[in-house]
Amino acid sequence: MARYGMAIDTKLCVGCMDCVVACKTENNVPEGYNRDWITEEAFGKFPNINLEIRSERCNHCENAPCVSSCPTGASHYHDIGGVVLVEYNECIGCKACIASCPYDARFIHPDGYADKCTFCIHRVEEGKDPACVSVCPTNCMIFGDLDDPNSEISKQLNSRKHHSLKPVAGTNPKIFYLT
């Protein structure tokens, strides 16, 4: 069984926001909301300042608190690749999932249900990459099966240094940042 994840090369990402626009267009994300976004983290001491630019979204955690806190089962792991999804017709809009996500990756859609990145599961099921991955002009994002040792993402993660976000929160995120 596949286990979908994403590796994002912070050495290539320039923060152009193409991924953000692609997601909004592909998924009809309403104005004022984002399923993905750009974060810039600057650290170090002058003159040795480091800047990491990251395209961020729901991490499709393997130990997702948003799933375990959901009272209706609307938040769930999809059969395909363990992608974390919301079944809109089961969501009551209680916001427990939002409060439980350490990444603040979710929001309430103006129609009332909890919404977030779906890894463009509708595209993935057709064998395509998520919209953000497919438009990136620097090709900094790799989407694929973490369980397949021959997938591009597994190869990159095996050969490159990487980190995930807030690993101490214990959610086992499946998005990795190559550094």
Binding site: M17, V20, G32, Y33, N34, W37, I38, T39, E40, E41, A42, F43, G44, K45, F46, I49, E56, P65, S68, S69, C70, P71, T72, G73, A74, N89, E90, C91, I92, G93, C94, K95, A96, I98, A99, S100, C101, P102, D104, R106, F107, I108, D111, G112, Y113, K166, V168, A169, G170
Partner: protein, 310 residues
Amino acid sequence: MHEITTTRNNHLIDPSLEIWGWEIPVYLFLGGMVAGMMIITGYFLFKQRQTEETCSCRYVPWVSLVLLSLGMFALFLDLEHKLFTWRLYTTFQVTSPMSWGAWILIIVYPAILVTILITPPKWLVEKFPVVKKYSEWLNERKIWIKNIGVANMILGAMLGMYTGILLSSLGARPLWNTSILWLLFLVSGLSGAAAFVHMVAKNVYERELLAKADNGFLTFELFVIALMIIGLLTSTQVHQEAAMLILTGPYAATFWVFVVGIGIIIPLIIQLMAVNHKVNHTPWAPIMVIVGGLILRFVIVEAGQVSSWF
């Protein structure tokens, strides 16, 4: 230097969480009050005090019924996808405290109704003669009444604990993520309910007893608050920062003045004097306790949303 900037600006999420407004604190407060009232009523039933004409166990369940309904209405108002509320009751999600709560509330209602059946008011009996039949049947079986009392105490405890666990299971918000929150909300619910019954009790014995009990609950609540703060301060950096929100940060004034000062310490002093017959029992101390309990829920819910993992 260490600076993070983001382009995300989602409504109610950024710059800090604001997903829960007044509805959830009010719901948690009313749930706690009902929990406390059920425990007190359950205790009196267990002691077979229902035969006493002025026993609070005759009218407090009605108050519970009203408060519980108001609380559930507040919760309902908070839901963003209201048409799908019924989805709560087509499943039971064992890992979700909210699912537990939804089902606990469903069991609490009939428990309160059965309690009312023990000593139904006149108008109810006149309107529905069948009530009298069941009531007499129950009253012939003392052991049943004791058991209803025990059920009230257990369900009340579960309800009170759940209001705290609901928040403390949300690990992404360090201020809530303390395993003692259930105890704080339970004892705060008990002290609020004891204060309320003390205020309205017609029975002198019950009034004195509840004033004394309330003093115990308030003292215990102070200890629990101290333990919660110590727990946070000796934990990770994010938990320490969360504690600072109520210790010296933006919520400190409200917390210390309204929750600890007016909500616990001042009424405790007044009630200690009252039970030692130095001053008369007045509604002031109970009102302060109840208002303090409400503000406690507001402070915890709001400050908790501000606290986060860096």
